[in-house]
Assembly symmetry: C2
Homo-oligomer: 339 residues x 2
């Protein structure tokens, strides 16, 4: 079923049918009605390739998709992507994955220079900002999830990562803790460094400088969390509280505590940042895990909305968004017992 046939069937011109379907004003109410009914009946669907060729826009947004295991191949990414795809669909955009393996951005370059996508989303950038430089040189609009320090000439959605660690650290201090260690993410991420600063500043405020090694860094998996927690909790100057960058890390830390016969919420206080991974509810930890919470799926949705507004003509200046994470107090933290 093509436009042409539909038009013939209706005894109208292609122009009129096209404009009726696309909501232009120069077509009468009755005609519009008649057209859309016929279109539905005959199951007419415009051929997207043709429309794209004619308009120059593809209604597809590309996502740089790191396929190597060193990067973001993890549940956090899936969640983000789900939210993005969901909202994008509502705005009639499709999401195209552009597999990038390591430093090989060939795929991305291809979909960009062949006009396959209207815009690129960078779901994960490292501190170097090279991904941003690359996409910028390709001269295509883009939106970033996260940020690169000292550089903000683009549209982005990020959370206030400084607060993500500052808040719980401050809270733990208020509860009497002094030996507070962190299980943080990979060093080459901006959010990791922001969180690190938040923790350092909170400690500095009461004149504490954390012992060497109190800041552990690794990929955010259960296994790494377990390993880092085991190491930290076996030290002579054992921390009384752990602040984790992900509930996955916290899950590993819980396992370490259990193995070391330490009771979470009594011997060790634990908090984490909660991206709300669907299979790992902080509430159902035992004891329930105190968290700074910010849904990464909602972030995906919001990015899709930002993309939409960007393509509708808003400036990147007006599309920089920073979300605050709320601190939820739960039984995994407790005041420090005098020992």
């Amino acid at each position: 079923m093509s436009l042409k046939k539909l038009a013939e069937h209706l005894g109208l011109s292609q122009t009129t049918v096209s404009r009726a379907l696309n909501g232009y004003s120069d077509v009468s109410k009755e005609t519009r009605e008649r057209v859309s009914i016929a279109a539905k009946e005959l199951g007419y669907r415009p051929n997207e390739s043709a429309r794209r060729l004619a308009t120059g826009r593809s209604n597809i947004i590309g996502v740089a998709f790191p396929t190597d295991e060193n990067k973001l191949v993890d549940p956090h990414f899936t969640e983000f992507l789900s939210g993005l795809a969901e909202r994008a669909a509502e705005h009639d955009y499709d999401v195209l994955l552009s597999a990038t393996k390591g430093d090989d951005w060939k795929g991305l370059k291809r979909v960009v220079s062949s006009r396959t996508v209207d815009l690129v989303v960078l779901p994960s950038v490292d501190v170097s900002g090279e991904q941003i430089s690359l996409v910028k040189s390709l001269d295509i609009p883009f939106v970033v999830h996260g940020r690169v320090k000292d550089r903000n000439d683009y549209a982005f959605l990020d959370i206030d990562n400084y607060q993500v660690f500052y808040q719980p650290t401050k809270m733990l201090i208020d509860l009497g803790h002094k030996n507070i260690a962190i299980l943080n993410g990979p060093r080459n991420r901006n959010y990791t460094n922001e969180r690190l600063r938040g923790w350092q500043d909170a400690l500095a405020e009461i004149g504490i400088e954390a012992p060497a090694g109190y800041d552990a860094h690794a990929r955010m998996t259960e296994a790494e969390g377990f390993a880092m927690a085991m190491e930290l909790l076996s030290r002579p100057d054992r921390p009384t509280a752990l602040v984790c960058s992900s509930t996955l890390l916290a899950s590993g830390a819980y396992r370490a505590c259990s193995q070391l016969q330490l009771v979470v919420g009594r011997d060790v206080s634990i908090t984490a940042h909660d991206d709300e991974l669907p299979f790992l509810s902080a509430m159902s930890f035992d004891p329930p895990l105190a968290v700074t919470r910010s849904s990464i799926r909602a972030a995906g949705r919001e990015v899709a909305s930002i993309v939409n507004r960007y393509l509708l003509g808003e400036s990147w200046q007006s599309l920089q968004t920073i979300w605050q994470a709320e601190l939820v107090y739960r039984a995994s933290v407790a005041p420090l017992k005098a020992s």
Copy 2:
């Protein structure tokens, strides 16, 4: 840079330039050379939309992407997708996600009927086979990861799920175990049922019928694994061995053992099916986890290859592939001690 300009620049016709670039035989060696050099120099990239319109093919493969948490929003899916996207890129296909939320297949229908995608990949089908019926009614080629019982009129890649549980169960029996329970996946999946049968048959061979409740079913997450293992291992007729459908479940089972003061590989033997999730290496479990192994990422890659061959004209009959999983013996299993 368009074909037309490139042709003018070279003093050739569009036809010749197009055919030179696309490797047709009716263009001389020197001309072809000259054209491809110029194309590279001027950074010419064919406009994909135009090519799609002209050829009728989009070189995009659609993936039905379930965005609701009840389904496959988990690391297994990401891994699969990574493999798929990677190999697809090698064959010059792009991967487009079609978000489907619950039973709402609107997105899929749209990309299909608007000719946005050449083919659809179903990464996850339930036992009802309704996804297959739907896609079939859309009259578009499709490839399935997995299978639906009693129905195999389509191209698919699956693993021999019967063996996935039969093999380890048999091995555990050989080691003297009799009380063998399973931590299986969701009931509405074909692989779950196949595995169930494999386990039942292995037991039946030595005349055992498992006690009620020895077959536990849930989503394949660490938390569910923990819960199911806790329940099973707390029974009066405690199983001496657990066969798990995923390393994530096994990870939860390990935690349960640790909590119950049971030593894996001594008090309880555990095996699992290993999809080779990158952040959860069976080898680095403590003790190392015995598994049936089959990389789900490799499966993604293979599906992309199947897609490629399908679109090149092979029949679905010739594209039905079943992989065997190999059984790897490790310290998480041990002969049953006489008690």
